[in-house]
């Protein structure tokens, strides 16, 4: 039994290490590794292992199930090895943020393995990392169903609900977990996210700090803390938090992104570019990161590079309307208004209820001299938007004043 556990641990460590190094020839490594795995199973004190039975439970002391009593046979060892191979491959893909591949790999698991806490956690994570929050939510919720006492992954679920703005569900989750285990750092991440969604950033900060008190190595709690400091515009403390997150986990791209977004806001575009690129190096598939990098390049007046980057972003994630929207913004800076308008029309057809799109269309039409069309777009924008009305109204007032740029008032 101990041997099996050790092997699982080794698998864990190996795939993390592989991910960290970013090994290219993972195929070969993996097959070689599987052979080693088989060997070590055989050498491992002669403890007989049978396949099946909850082998995927690696954490929480549940791993013993895998080594349930059985008659030693080459068949059993092979079954475990095959199972571990799939899991470790999937884990390696996930650690390198190749989410579709990870999902595909995990999908090959038999149902009794797939429906376990650890596997569903990784599935949720894979969806989460590619900003597919709907699927992430359902995966993590079924994780809760199959493994109701699992605390790992709940921090992720709470951030998913935060993204989806499900305040009722988030608050229910916070209630439930804080009743269940007050000593778990994940609990306080959930509670903090709940308050953050209510825009009570000071309170949220207190709870994230409590999570750090409970587990000083919890990378994600530092990141969440940093995001709250950013919301309070306390950038020095936010930078310190993100640095702590990176210190505990160098491959935590969220923290690199957090630093980049701070520098972006402070208009230190070169610094921002460096940090976004670091984040992208870790998670090269992320279209959100690419959009941000494109925005920084745009701000640095490197328009062509920005356009290429945004093109890549929309190719890697066609669902991301931000990429095309920012492309239009760049095209506008390059005074290629007709192209900008075409780009925006596509965005509008995909997301018909975004007033920012109409607002930008109005500005483009004004540049093209189509005052009536501009007016129409501004009116729709005004109709859809309930908060920032002043900005739109100011633009409408200046509509017949072609010399004045919208940006000039700043």
């Amino acid at each position: 039994m101990m041997a099996a556990l050790a092997v699982v641990k080794a698998a864990h460590a190996t795939s993390v290490a592989l991910a960290a190094r970013g090994e290219a020839e993972q195929g070969d490594t993996m097959t070689g590794w599987a052979a080693k795995l088989q060997e070590s199973c055989r050498d491992g004190g002669g403890s007989p292992i049978r396949g099946g039975g909850g082998g995927a439970r690696r954490e929480g002391g549940g791993g013993g199930d895998a080594a349930a009593a059985g008659v030693g046979s080459g068949e059993g060892v092979r079954a475990v090895a095959a199972l571990l191979l799939v899991l470790s491959k999937a884990y390696q893909h996930l650690m390198q943020f190749r989410c579709p591949e990870a999902l595909q790999e995990l999908g090959r698991l038999p149902p009794q393995q797939y429906c376990t806490g650890w596997v569903l956690h990784q599935v949720g994570r894979a969806y989460f990392e590619r900003a597919d929050y709907g699927n992430a939510k359902s995966a993590l919720e079924s994780m809760q169903r199959y493994d109701p006492h699992r605390m790992e992954g709940l921090d992720l679920l709470s951030t998913t609900l935060w993204h989806l703005k499900r305040d009722v569900e988030l608050s229910y989750l916070a209630q439930k977990v804080s009743e269940f285990d007050r000593r778990s750092p994940q609990t306080w991440c959930v509670v903090g996210n709940c308050f953050s969604l209510q825009k009570e950033h000071e309170t949220a900060l207190r709870f994230f700090q409590r999570a750090i008190q409970l587990d000083a190595d919890m990378t994600y709690a530092y990141t969440l803390c940093g995001h709250e400091y950013v919301a309070n515009e306390d950038f020095d403390k936010a930078v310190a938090c993100f640095r702590m997150a990176i210190r505990t986990d160098r491959r935590h791209y969220n923290a690199w992104y957090g630093l980049g977004s701070i520098y972006h806001r402070q208009e230190k575009y070169d610094m921002a570019e460096y940090h976004f690129r670091r984040a992208l190096k870790i998670n090269p598939q992320s279209s959100v990161l690419r959009v941000y990098l494109g925005m920084v390049l745009h701000a640095n007046k490197r328009y062509l590079e920005a356009l290429d980057m945004l093109e890549l972003a929309s190719k890697s994630e066609p669902r991301n309307p931000q990429a095309s929207f920012q492309r239009a913004n760049v095209l506008m800076s390059m005074e290629r208004y007709a192209e900008a308008l075409r780009e925006l029309e596509v965005v509008r057809d995909n997301v018909p209820k975004e007033s920012a799109v109409y607002f930008l269309m109005g500005k483009v039409c004004k540049k093209l001299g189509q005052t009536d069309a501009a007016m129409r777009h501004f009116t729709i924008a005004l109709d859809l938007h309930n908060k920032d009305k002043n900005l739109i109204k100011a633009a409408v007032d200046r509509l017949n004043d072609p010399d004045m740029d919208e940006e000039e008032k700043f």
């Binding site: 309307p321 913004n329 607002f359 938007h385 002043n390």
Partner: protein
């Protein structure tokens, strides 16, 4: 004459409500006092800036010298200030409790312009003073921002000074337990001020990483 002034004062004094710290609005505004350098005209040892800003209403600043008693709040850059909140407690401070506060703003000591005057009547708890740019422009440091919303132009200043003009029962020194300075809170994921905030779920999903 005396009657007249009293009558005119009366409507300007709403009953001072007891407001807890949680009633201060941290949702649409944020505390910006920590970004400033604070100084006082005078202070009794052990009752200074630290006690004024320690988030505890049990400790207080006590002036120790000639009037007027001043709190100077100097920012490193021009800031939008929307509200100043004071924690005062007449029931324990009695004649030390401020009766009249004058709030001034500008770019340095030398060009301060009075923004508002607050008269108080036996306050207990938080007293919130909303701030707007004084009418007619005033000092160069105070810009009337047209985008300030329906309530009026916002106050932007490098330097804010709070002057305690008078105490209750003609007290000489003053006690102020807490002072908070609030600025507006901007949308957390908004980067480009020339663009609108996103409202559709499709856009918001990809607006940030967390």
């Amino acid at each position: 004459m005396a009657d007249d002034s009293q009558v005119s004062q009366q409507p300007a004094q709403p009953p001072e409500a007891k407001t807890e710290a949680s009633e201060l609005d941290y949702v649409t505004r944020r505390e910006i006092g920590r970004e400033a350098v604070w100084s006082l005209s005078s202070a009794k040892p052990g009752n200074g800036v630290d006690q004024l800003r320690d988030d505890s209403t049990d400790t207080y600043w006590q002036s120790d010298g000639g009037q007027p008693h001043l709190i100077n709040i100097q920012f490193h850059k021009k800031m939008t200030v929307v509200e100043i909140a004071f924690h005062l407690d007449f029931s324990s401070d009695e004649s030390y409790t401020p009766k009249k506060l004058s709030i001034r703003a500008g770019s340095s000591f030398h060009d301060l312009v009075e923004v508002t005057v607050k008269e108080l009547h036996e306050p207990v708890g938080w007293v919130r003073v909303p701030l707007f740019a004084p009418g007619g422009g005033g000092a160069a440091a105070i810009a009337a921002d047209a985008a300030g919303g329906a309530e009026g132009p916002v106050l932007r200043a490098h330097f804010v000074q709070i002057c305690v003009v008078a105490m209750h029962q003609n007290g000489r020194d003053t006690h102020i337990r807490q002072v908070k300075v609030f600025g507006p809170r901007l949308a957390s994921v908004q980067h480009d001020p020339s663009l609108l905030e996103f409202i559709s779920p499709e856009f918001e999903t990809f607006a940030c990483i967390r």
